[in-house]
Symmetry: C2
């Protein structure tokens, strides 16, 4: 995590997610209203008329698309500081639900537009944020397209370690805030396959389940190596 101040100097090349300056964040927050959402509460549904952009102040949110037969794909998890409200032709493209009790800000799209149109800095921040989301989505594509379920789970655990509120680097303990079904739908697998993957990872000594939600990663390095993932290519 580097300083946002000059990170934004490099469009489509920032290291970080949260890069609007504090002043811009302040400006956004003033333009909107705060509200909270209980676990499993719906923020909006795929197909609803899009009226707001959202900032997640605290909590975790899942973005999903439903299939005709009721199958669901989670396209992303959103963490504190993330922004969402992606729409097309005036309708939201994903359904958004809280994974746990969460606090959010909602900004009317019209107000947002006005600010973006006259503020290059803000608009650039948006572009960089979107580019960051895009990189994440591409990582997800790589995961779904090339890895077996056991490796997908390994990668997912590592992704979760990026969230400071979930992972204690000192102890190596990761708290999984979501149900197995959410993990499964995110990873394009079944809950059974996820459970079996965790069992095998544990048998191979790469993780240890303290409780169902608390997982010890004795050696994240080894786990990353197992997942066959080079964050920085050679």
């Amino acid at each position: 995590m580097t300083e946002p101040s000059e990170a934004s100097a490099s469009p489509f090349g920032c290291d970080i997610a949260k890069l609007l300056t504090p002043a811009k964040q302040e400006q956004l927050l003033r333009a909107g209203t705060q509200f909270s959402c209980a676990a499993d509460g719906t923020i909006y549904r795929e197909g609803d008329a899009a009226g707001h952009l959202y900032l997640l102040d605290r909590g975790i949110v899942r973005a999903s698309r439903l299939l005709l037969d009721g199958n669901r794909q989670l396209v992303s998890f959103l963490w504190s500081g993330d922004m969402f409200g992606l729409s097309e032709a005036g309708r939201y493209v994903n359904s958004l639900e809280a994974v746990c009790d969460s606090v959010l800000h909602r900004i009317p799209i019209a107000a947002m537009e006005a600010m973006l149109r006259e503020d290059a800095q803000l608009a650039l921040g948006f572009a960089i944020r979107a580019a960051h989301e895009l990189r994440t989505a591409q990582g997800h594509i790589l995961c779904l397209g090339q890895l077996d379920v056991q490796r997908r789970v390994a990668r997912f655990l590592l992704d979760c370690t990026e969230q400071p509120e979930l992972f204690d680097r000192a102890s190596g303990v990761l708290i999984l805030p979501m149900k197995r079904l959410d993990m499964a739908d995110y990873l394009g697998a079944t809950v059974e396959a996820v459970a079996r993957a965790l069992t095998r990872l544990e048998r191979e000594g790469l993780i240890r389940r303290l409780t169902r939600r608390d997982i010890l990663l004795p050696d994240p390095e080894a786990l990353g190596c197992y997942a066959g993932w080079a964050r920085q290519p050679i």
Copy 2:
């Protein structure tokens, strides 16, 4: 394809890919230099120092990432008018190669930055483009996570029909410009699985292979219904 003029009024909600105004496009082109790339030629590699942004004037380009074991995932195809050059910490995150002979523009990132910093309209256009890419990537995620190979191939054919230079709506003939291996790596499958999927789609009357690359879609509607985001036929 609607007019770009007011489509950009709706950030994160545009219908279209190509939305910088002609004036902006002109400005970008003047800032860069044109070059061409032969089929299967490399434009840049994952991990290279990122120095330029690219505009694809004519042709088709594939963006891919490699795993440690040498497996490849195509994260997207880029068509005429698309922009690319996604980087992180000063390094490109994907490898870009031409699928067929292509003509491109290359703009130094420094020049691009300068323009973005002082031009809200341009920066907003960037944000919207990135949001469009993001929606596409999420569709890809849905495809990889939930559909069997036969349906993935069906969806892919339909995606290709969006490109006017590939699909003749009147005759229903689609020209596939890429090899089976590219399709397979894009769809997270093997060439064999793709070949079998095409064979089954043909047996079911949803497509007809005129040659290996030219495919007749007698009823795109029916194909869409088949691929419609459902794992099991309804």
